[in-house]
Amino acid sequence: MIAATAVILGVWYYASPKNLQVGYAPVQPVPYSHKLHAGTMGMDCRYCHANVERSAHAMIPPTQTCMGCHSVVKTESARLSPVRESWKTGEPVEWVKVHKLPEHSYFNHSVHVAVGVGCATCHGRIDQMEVVRLDKPIAMQWCLDCHRNPTANLRPKDQVTNMTWTPDQAPQGWKPPTVNPPVNCSGCHR
């Protein structure tokens, strides 16, 4: 009985996404710094992840987006050589995916952005990350916690990409919109 309880609790704790996934920070082919671009320079998330408001997937920017600046800035940087290589050959840079969702769950970025879920709510303080790491456990429990009580995670739509927004910055009289996120199986497992 004790052994069974120990196994159950052990699996529950140690095999959970919270224990196994959070902190995943793979080495990327280009040592791109979100801390520099989004933090120090204050670039908006949507400059690179441009379609996030309209598409289910938040795009990984193509080489062209990088070269938009880097054809004139830091043109000789060794760290940027994979990008220039990609620009020459037309082969995309093979970025490593950090936020992996199981294939049987359907997630749409645009609807979350449209109702005012901040980028930082799910991705954490990207603007402070030299290398992007997984900040939140992408577990069903975690999704449902918000789907069952969404208002605490909503903000005015013009503040979605603001990395430092807190609820006390909401304008006077602003109320979170009434949203009814699905909590039935087929909401996400379509």
Binding site: I8, L9, W12, S16, P137, A139, Q141, L144
Partner: protein, 483 residues
């Protein structure tokens, strides 16, 4: 408690006249000590081959998916659930014999209770296979248990399928415990006999049975504790005889499907379960009795009593079939009426009339004393009942599903070869387990049989109705299992 038959009431001894304590031990225990007869090996080979077919069929199912079965819209439940209910039902006779008849002081149960309990456990094992593989992804079976997890998934306690899981797993646990507790004194007998043996495996035997006997010495205190534990387990098992199959029937009756949604289901299912279980006990006992020469212990009296129970339960089941038709007509519900007319006269009428012939007509032969004491007749009828009760579940499940509310979704179910192999495979698994049981475990409760011998009665001599005065000395050993 007096165990002596009361002559004034026309009672007779439960074993053959003149059996001694030692005869009982010798008859039963020696089966596990002699080398197995050739027929046992042949039977084991056949049974194990079928069990292998089961493994292959299930492996193929898991590899390919549930689509290899014939189940499809609108018949999503078919042979799998039929087999599940059939096996679970068979198990019920074991519990009825061991627990209910024990509490009612039906001493004749002692000849058959051990084998019937073993049958229960093996039948429940076979039954549990089906829901496990029917869900298609058996590695996710833990979803059914209330375990903490990071998916926020929790069993739906409003679902009868979850009640079923708990009913059946409770049943399995309690039945296994009950069987094992009852075995302890007999395992000690086998241990004691093995101590005196010589041979290659005598030491292994003595150690194995010794470990299983949990240090039983037949002390007075042991017997006190044992009898109390046995009584408590009997009391725990008794409600399970009624509850388990009631809960199984809820899988159907809590739905809105015409033909399933009826309040008669729980008692109807329980009667059917006892009916089919006794038939299976009868089939097995007749074989064991003939093969192992157990006629002195499993007497015609036992067989006749079992046949009477089959007559009663078979008639109850027949009543339920009739009542279903009456309720369908009386309800005025056209869907309900249609389902029952369709059962009897639709495309599956062959299954319906097979069921009626086997379950309702064939046990009626037992009204005749001559027929219910004829071994060939009772063997044939027990087989018929096994078949009929399988068809009952098939009729309930498939004929209700194949034509329900929407004629546009009607269909006709046909099993595939994988369905057939899976079912025959569980029969193989069942008989493999049962053959191993009769080879290694005392198949008759030695200690309990001794308790119902005339000389076990401390006042046996006072009755003066038998002249074996040498039994007086043996009475002291009445409760000692080791000879």
């Amino acid at each position: 408690m007096s165990t002596h038959p009361i002559k004034e009431l026309g009672e007779v001894a439960l074993t053959e006249e003149g059996m001694t304590f030692h005869d009982v031990t010798e008859t039963v225990a020696s089966v596990t000590e002699r080398s197995a007869p050739r027929n046992w090996w042949i039977a084991l080979f056949i049974a194990a081959s079928f069990a292998g077919v089961f493994g292959a069929a299930v492996g193929y199912l898991v590899w390919q998916g549930v689509g290899v079965w014939g189940n499809n819209a609108p018949v999503y439940w078919a042979w799998d659930i039929t087999n599940f209910v059939w096996w679970i039902g068979i198990g019920h006779a074991g519990t009825l014999i061991s627990a209910v008849l024990f509490l009612f002081r039906q001493k004749w149960r002692t000849a058959i209770n051990r084998a019937a309990e073993a049958m229960t456990i093996f039948a429940v094992i076979c039954a549990l296979m089906f829901p496990g593989i029917h869900v298609g992804r058996p590695w996710l079976a833990y979803y059914m248990f209330p375990l903490p997890n990071s998916m926020a998934i929790w069993p739906n306690f409003k679902s009868p399928l979850i009640w079923d899981l708990f009913a059946v797993s409770t049943y399995f646990t309690v039945s296994t415990l009950f069987w094992y507790v009852g075995l302890i004194p007999d395992l000690a007998s086998l241990r004691d006999r093995a101590m005196g043996m010589t041979g290659k495996f005598a030491k292994v035997r003595a150690t194995a049975y010794g470990a299983l006997a949990l240090g039983w010495r037949g002390a007075n205190r042991h017997w006190q504790h044992y009898e109390r534990a046995y009584m408590i387990l009997a009391a725990l098992s008794t409600p399970l005889v009624l509850s388990v199959h009631s809960v199984v029937s809820f899988d159907f009756s809590t739905s809105v499907e015409p033909g399933w949604h009826t309040t008669i289901f729980p008692p109807y299912f329980v009667a059917g379960a006892v009916f089919s279980g006794f038939a299976m006990v009868m089939t097995l006992m007749l074989i064991v009795r003939a093969v192992y020469g157990m006629k002195a212990v499993i007497t015609m009296k036992h067989l006749e009593l079992m046949n009477k129970i089959m007559l009663v339960t078979g008639t109850l089941v027949g009543y339920a079939y009739g009542m279903e038709f009456f309720i369908a007509a009386y309800s005025g519900n056209p869907y309900e009426k249609y389902v029952f007319m369709n059962r009897a006269f639709g495309p599956y009428s062959w299954a319906y009339w097979t069921m009626i012939t086997c379950n309702v007509v064939s046990p009626q032969l037992f009204w005749s004393k001559k027929l219910r004491t004829s071994i060939p007749v009772m063997f044939a009828v027990s087989i018929f009942i096994n078949i009929g009760m399988w068809f009952e579940r098939f009729v309930i499940i498939v004929t209700s599903l194949h034509r329900d509310f929407l004629p546009s979704s009607w269909g006709y179910y046909r099993p595939t070869a994988v369905d057939v192999c899976t079912y025959l495979g569980t029969l193989g698994l069942f008989f493999t387990l049962f053959l191993l049981f009769i080879r290694w475990v005392p198949m008759i409760a030695i200690a309990e049989i001794k308790g119902v011998l005339p000389q076990a009665d401390p006042h046996a001599e006072e009755h003066g109705d038998h002249e074996h005065h040498d039994h007086a000395a043996e009475s002291d050993a009445a409760l000692a299992p080791g000879e």
